[in-house]
């Protein structure tokens, strides 16, 4: 392995147990970076440094989801052998808690963004007060969006983090919808159900929707220490999952035994707790799977750099060996530079595709939102027509909140899938033009045929593949959780019962008429309030969507523009190099040719390794 200096200001590869693939990718990355620096391409080198950083700081959030009181917080505690997540027989987790790696350990609360801009966006919380912030009994007077706990644990070091979610009360609850909405951000989910009962219909429905949104899901059956029949329950659950067409691992665990094992340092208790298997799944399946995705993205980045370097070094190498071909090469390179310039210009077809696509995306997503909100309004009005708002207003409020959350989540899902489509379209367009930059170089001289072995045809990965690393969800969501974003339906003052004076003076029929009039009035009031609420939801969501689309557009533009600039630079640099090398004295040019040959071989080796995967 070539000794490679680590770029300054960067974290060392963290901890032991990084996957082999990561280490290899790091090695390749560093080699290509050195070559880029040697070829006077600090721009490419900088890009690779960024890729290196991304590879090492990759966060792998695992969402822990399930109904109330199934032992979600205890499960996280047991996994990490800690007592950081507050656990109580009665009180439940009310705020999503993220547990990730960090030294020194700390707790930070993120308040709900309010109207008051002077409010702090993060609050440092002492460990012993965490309970007050994340449980529903806590009364800190601050509405929180999430709480972040940083711990120094081996399991977390490789980038794994856990999100303790508030329990969902039935699939249809607002909280259930919000949890589903946040799932695309997680790389995996642990679905928690206890061994006291087999899966229920709402649980399975939630699980099905979880699987749709999250690539890796494990079903964890907790509290096996309390129920002698847990093996039966696990079997029953396996059957239910199989019938639903879900192939998930079902892992029975006892958090109680795991914590006891850790307190007594007993390996046999730990084995009995069932956690080794869960940890194995987390490491081998989830972490390795997530790492594989990141490594793939890194390889694509390396491939791109190799392609660019080959273009530059290849041209110079050709002229070093065949100086007589300089005019031809110069002509071709001039053409390539021109095309490269075009690629970076606003008129490039990928730019057009991006701009048009963004506009279409915006209007489609907006239409989708409007459609859904109209449906919500219609259903709400039908409900109000059926009953007296005075009797069921609070239930109605709950219903409206739940429906609004569902609208938000579905609309975001549309946004995310359409955004991914747009990104693919733009990438395809970019590819077409990028393709045109390829250059036929003179065949290597016969004398050098022996190295031709290394000159394998290098499959340039398409831009579309680079998008494997692109997660539209992260762009779309911006923040971490969108919990409770849209206020509530309040403000309805139910019309007072018929006043005293009226009651005394009016006859029976008049009272009845008056009652009906008041009911109609209440309904009208309630409908108005519903419309106002839907308007507000529409406003908040509409703004979120527009922001998300703008972020996406900016991201894609910057990304491809940067690539276009790099390609242009490669061509320009190649052109200069070709001209210079052609004018070199023979002996110097021969030395140059040797050096270039060496670099070329280096690139070839990296390319070969990447191809081999």
């Amino acid at each position: 392995m070539t000794a490679v200096a680590r770029p300054p200001g960067e974290a060392a590869p963290q901890g032991p147990g990084r996957g082999v693939a990561v280490l290899r990718a790091l090695d390749d990355l560093d080699r290509v970076r050195v070559l880029a620096a040697a070829s006077d391409r600090p721009d490419l080198a900088a890009r690779l440094v960024q890729a290196r950083f991304r590879l090492l700081s990759e966060d792998v959030p695992v969402a822990v989801v399930g109904e109330f009181k199934q032992g979600k917080s205890t499960l996280i505690n047991a996994l990490l052998r800690t007592d950081v997540c507050p656990v109580d027989s009665d009180i439940v987790t009310a705020v999503p808690t993220i547990v990730r790696y960090g030294v020194p350990p700390s707790v930070v609360a993120h308040p709900e963004p309010g109207d008051d801009v002077t409010e702090p966006t993060r609050i440092e919380v002492p460990f012993d007060r965490l309970r007050d912030y994340v449980t529903e009994a806590g009364d800190t007077g601050v509405r929180l969006r999430s709480v972040e706990v940083r711990l120094d644990r081996l399991l977390l070091r490789r980038g794994l983090s856990f999100i303790d979610t508030p329990g969902v009360g039935g699939l249809d609850s607002a909280q259930g919808n919000l949890t589903l909405g946040a799932l695309p951000l997680a790389r995996a989910a642990l679905f928690v159900t206890d061994a006291g009962a087999e899966l229920t219909a709402p649980e399975l429905a939630f699980l099905t929707r979880t699987v749709e949104r999250c690539p890796r899901v494990v079903c964890v059956v907790t509290k096996t220490d309390l129920h002698a029949e847990w093996r039966r329950i696990v079997e029953l659950n396996r059957g239910h999952l199989a019938r639903a067409g879900l192939s998930l691992s079902v892992v029975p665990v006892s958090s109680f035994l795991r914590l006891r094992a850790s307190a007594r340092g007993s390996a046999s208790l730990n084995t009995e707790s069932g956690f080794p298997r869960l940890l194995d799944l987390l490491r081998r399946d989830i972490l390795a799977g997530a790492e594989a995705t990141t490594v793939r993205a890194t390889r694509q980045e390396i491939t791109f750099a190799v392609t660019e370097l080959r273009r530059q070094i290849g041209a110079e190498r050709a002229v070093a060996r065949h100086p007589e071909q300089e005019p031809v090469l110069v002509e071709r390179l001039a053409e390539q530079t021109r095309r490269g310039q075009h690629l970076a210009e606003r008129a490039a077809s990928w730019q057009t595709a991006l701009n048009d696509g963004t506009q279409d995306l915006g209007s489609d997503v907006d239409h989708d939102l409007r459609e859904r909100l109209r449906g919500l309004l219609r259903r709400g009005e039908e409900l109000l027509d059926k009953e007296d708002p005075k009797d069921n207003w609070r239930d109605f409020e709950a219903w409206a909140g739940k429906e609004a959350a569902a609208v938000a989540v579905d609309n975001l899902f549309t946004l995310v899938s359409r955004t991914e489509q747009l990104a693919r379209d733009v990438a395809d367009r970019f590819d077409l033009e990028y393709e045109g930059l390829d250059l036929d170089l003179p065949a290597p001289a016969a004398a050098l045929a022996k190295v031709g072995v290394l000159d394998i045809r290098f499959e340039r990965s398409s831009m579309r593949q680079f998008l494997g690393a692109f997660t539209a969800a992260r762009l779309a969501y911006g923040g971490m959780f969108m919990a409770g974003a849209f206020g509530s339906l309040l403000g309805l003052t139910v019309a007072a019962p018929i006043g005293v004076a009226v009651g005394m003076t009016l006859g029976r029929k008049l009272v009845r008429d008056e009652r009906e009039r008041q009911l109609a009035y209440r309904r009208q009031q309630a409908k108005q309030e519903l419309r106002r609420y839907v308007d507000e939801v529409g406003f908040v969501l509409g703004k979120d969507c527009r922001d998300a689309i703008r972020r996406t557009q900016r991201f894609l533009r910057d990304e491809f523009a940067a690539r276009a600039a790099l390609a242009e630079r490669s061509s320009a640099q190649a052109l200069t190099a070709v001209r210079q090398t052609a004018t070199l004295p023979d002996d110097e040019r021969a030395r140059r040719a040797d050096r270039l040959e060496e670099q070329w071989r280096d690139l070839g080796r990296v390319a070969e390794r990447i191809e081999a995967v």
Binding site: K69, S89, Q175, E198, D225, A228, P497, V500
Partner: protein, 498 residues
């Protein structure tokens, strides 16, 4: 007075039976008439694995309904008092037929002899004093993964335009669930509990022993949880009272045998370390080998009967000497199971009102019959009389008002409304219950309290600034006070003057 109520209702139904020519209508009316003479029907409903069958066994005091770790009850099953043990199978179409059955460690296992979906319901007749008070109906779990099963329960509990609810009252089982506010009822509505009304539904926080991981304080925690549920305004509308019950404990308390006590005593008498090790997890407790000299199969049975909490609690009670023999343990277990409390609540909420609830169901049956035909002179007369019964009998008015009150539809101060609830018989129909006094209060104190209440509500009823609904309700409350006074041995104001 109540017998008068039933007599009037019966008379009305009789009249309708003879006046209406339609055989379908007659069938409904005949059924309603029969039902008037039967015990009150109480359905036990809830999510799957909420412990419905276990609770049923505990309430009857006999292991009747089969229970299992997996989903078990798949057919609506009636348990009613009868001269001997027998099982009747009611088909979806076709006459009922008697089926053979056997009892596997007490539980009645029926040989259906046909696919489950052809069976509408089962009736198990058992000679039982408890079932003489009320028929119990075990229902399949709501939210079951076999939709068919959930559907059966919903069909059964639902009353609609064409059908009268088959149950007069519902005990709804909740497992430990949570929600700061909205989330809770949302999930509740997911269960479609909208069936019960606040006058004939009681909530049970079931499997209370498993709350808090079967630690010894489980029942106290459960009581806290139940209290919170009860103070949830919207839950109160569905069932105003929530009682924590550990069904396994209750069932075991009712049926514990001497050999089981001996096994528990042997465990309790073993060295502390061995006991702790044994009670650490359910797996260890039923494991084949143990330092404690009780056989594996015996331990397995103990756990199945008592649950981990029940075993831990029993061992603890025996060890600390609170319990000396099987009788003591039975008493302790029943007391701690919450079952006694549930019985009291049922007596106050359902049995005390049984006749009104039954009359309600009967009048509802008449309604469905009358509503489905054109209005003519004949039906108009029937409707008018039904109305008259509803308005004329004060118990009916009380139940109606309680309903209004508990649905939060009456204006008034919370303390005022709480008192009204009590006076209307919300906590029990006995005078002491209504007045909020101890059951053994002397009649002089009762009379004084009733007179004070009467005067207080009289003022509310006549106060010009009271809201109209409140004044109407207050007048009814005054009548309830008068009723209390009239019922006291030493007569109060003469009821004839009202």
């Amino acid at each position: 007075m109540t017998d008068e109520l039933l007599r009037r209702v019966r008379g009305l139904l009789d009249r309708a039976y003879h006046e209406l020519p339609d055989p379908a209508a007659r069938q409904v009316l005949a059924a309603a008439l029969r039902r008037l003479d039967e015990p009150l029907r109480v359905a036990i409903a809830g999510k799957l694995k909420a412990g419905k069958s276990t609770l049923l066994n505990a309430m009857v005091g006999e292991e009747l309904a089969p229970t299992d770790a997996g989903e078990c009850t798949r057919i609506v099953t009636w348990y009613r008092d009868g001269p001997s043990y027998q099982v009747l199978l009611h088909l979806v179409d076709g006459p009922p037929e008697q089926r053979p059955f056997d009892r596997v460690s007490g539980a009645v296992r029926v040989d259906l002899g046909r696919p489950v979906d052809e069976v509408a319901q089962l009736t198990v007749e058992v000679p039982s004093r408890r079932l003489r008070e009320h028929t119990l109906i075990d229902t399949p779990g709501i939210a079951s993964l076999s939709t068919e099963v959930s559907l059966r329960t919903q069909m059964f509990l639902a009353a609609d335009e064409e059908r009268v609810a088959e149950a007069d009252a519902v005990v709804y089982l909740l497992r430990h669930m949570h929600g700061s506010d909205l989330r809770f009822l949302e999930s509740f509505h997911g269960d479609e509990l909208a069936r019960g009304s606040p006058v004939n539904a009681v909530g049970v926080l079931s499997r209370a022993d498993e709350i808090g991981d079967c630690r010894l304080d489980a029942m106290e925690v459960a009581a806290r949880v139940a209290d919170r549920y009860q103070s949830d305004e919207r839950l109160r509308r569905l069932c105003p009272i929530v009682v924590p019950v550990a069904g396994l404990l209750g069932a075991a308390g009712a049926t514990l045998r001497e050999d089981e006590f001996q096994a528990l005593a042997t465990i309790a008498g073993s060295p502390l370390d061995d006991v702790l090790e044994l009670l650490l997890t359910a797996d260890r407790f039923v494991g084949p080998a143990s330092a404690v000299p009780v056989d594996g199969p015996v331990r397995r049975r103990l756990l199945a009967r008592l649950g981990l909490f029940g075993v831990r609690l029993s061992v603890q009670l025996i060890r600390e000497g609170t319990v000396r023999d099987a009788g003591d343990l039975v008493r302790e277990l029943s007391a701690r199971s919450g079952l006694d409390r549930l019985r009291e609540v049922l007596a106050a909420q359902f049995l005390g009102r049984a006749r009104v609830l039954k009359a309600r169901s009967a009048l509802a049956a008449l309604d469905t019959v009358v509503r489905s035909r054109r209005t003519d002179a004949g039906t108009a007369g029937l409707i008018a009389e039904a109305e008259e019964i509803r308005a004329g009998f004060h118990e009916f008015v009380e139940v109606g008002l309680l309903h209004l009150l508990r649905s939060g539809r009456l204006p008034g101060r919370p303390d005022q409304l709480a008192e009204m609830d009590r006076l209307l018989g919300g906590a029990g129909a006995a005078a002491a219950d209504r007045l909020g006094l101890a059951a053994d209060a002397v009649s002089g104190r009762l009379a004084a309290a009733a007179e004070a209440a009467l005067a207080r509500w009289q003022r509310v009823a006549e106060h010009p600034l009271s809201a109209r609904e409140l004044r109407t309700a207050a007048r009814a409350t005054v009548r309830s006070c008068e009723g209390i006074l009239a019922g006291l041995p030493r007569s109060g104001p003469d009821p004839a003057t009202r």
